[in-house]
Symmetry: C2
Subunit: 75 residues, 2 copies
């Protein structure tokens, strides 16, 4: 899996684990909701700093957003 698609899948995975909406995550990370939506679909290539903001908003370590899937990431 491409690293940008991996990031998108992990953002969606952790967002759902926290029970957060895309709107909530976008607000907490200082992004547009449409940006979060694109990012989860793997059609955005954010900066590493943006990745860090997403991790902060999700309350997780940044490296978890680049974790390879173990047994699939979908909920």
């Amino acid at each position: 899996m491409d690293v940008v698609q991996l990031l998108g899948a992990n953002v969606r995975h952790h967002r759902k684990l926290k029970g957060m909406s895309q709107e909530r995550l976008a607000l907490d990370a200082g992004m547009e909701r449409s940006y979060v939506s694109d990012l989860e679909r793997g059609t955005r290539n954010p900066s590493v700093r943006a990745l860090g903001r997403l991790a902060d908003a999700l309350g997780i370590e940044p490296k978890l957003l680049l974790e390879s899937p173990v047994g699939g990431l979908s909920i």
Copy 2:
């Protein structure tokens, strides 16, 4: 540590572990040497795709470039 500085420290750490020069890493990752130099100093905020190219060039998983330091990263 800021995520961009963390990335820089990890790139330097893994590059040295592999015995690679900045020139070699830059060439393998399709970047300018000065970009790699800036990145290791934490003064560049690359895209996640660029992070992926660096990990490929270093022969490691992308997530290792966002690993928090354990006992210091310097060699």
